[in-house]
């Protein structure tokens, strides 16, 4: 086990994990007509 400073990849993973997905899924479901 190692501990280290955050990299851009860590920042990216955090952003992708904390934004978008649920909202996108609900928007897609709501668009079915």
């Amino acid at each position: 086990m190692t501990a280290r400073e955050p990299t851009l990849e860590d920042a990216y993973i955090h952003l992708i994990a904390t934004t978008g997905d649920d909202e996108a899924r609900s928007a897609r479901a709501a668009s079915v007509q």
Binding site: M1, A3, T7, L8, Y12, D21, E23, R28, Q33
Partner: protein
Amino acid sequence: MTMTEPRPAVPTTLHADTDGHAIEAIDLVRTYRTHTGVLRRRRLDVPAVRGISFHVRPGELFGLLGPNGAGKTTTIKMLITLLLPTSGSASVMGHDVVKETTEVRRRIGYVFGGDRGLYDRVSALDNLRYFAELYGVDPAVQKTRIGALIEMVGLTGREKEKVEGFSRGMRQRLHIARGLLHDPEVVFLDEPSIGLDPVGARELRQTVQSLVDAGKTVLLTTHYMFEADALCDRIAVINAGRIVALGTGADLKGAIANRTIVEIETFGVTEEALARLRGDADVSALNVEERDQSQILLVQSDRGTQITQRLLSCSATRESAR
């Protein structure tokens, strides 16, 4: 990043629209319409881009990052006039991408990753001559420009060989030369390093850097964070059709600067253990990378190494500390 010796620059000057932007997108939206079902067909509107706004300065290398399906390529396709926006507006070098498509196309080059876009059975030189004709490059400047571009992308001495014998990295650099034949002011690079080995990817990064050195404005999409961090002046992260962060690499890293990343190498970690970790109040994010026989857990936490014992007990299967 270290650079090789300066290569001959393709002459160009920095221009911009009246606001000083080489590229400007304002609230761009694109929705794809499709259908689902066979007997009971239903219309399905799939939002690919949902209100994206950003600008790129002249001479800037701007990165677009995001997972597959986030809307990066759709955004680029709207900017290069291949797709009409559903709503919103965009301009390149001051020209509207919907109303002034010809003016925009004269000023842009588009380079995409993959094997398409070149003729395998003719030489690199003949490929460039052919595309120079298609782009309407003045015959008087064709020879000099093609020579300069071959030099710039590091294919000097190989230009008379057939493309079918080229490595993927060489093809990709030839793609870039092709995209620059008409001396565009703005270059769009859509995942140019996809599928390249580390050496090829490094050579390609040097080529991309030389574009900026030559005064081009570059918009780059990539999945390689190291590449984006090394090259880009500013980066926008797109997720689910929206920009979720925009700034320099340092800005983006600064957003989680108070965090520690704990890497745990495990063997055969279970979904239950991962669920326990994700449910831990002190775990801000968790990502799993498969590496040979092991799984590397990347745990982000504001509590630093204070929670390592708890992490180890949560992920307990047959972990190996390193």
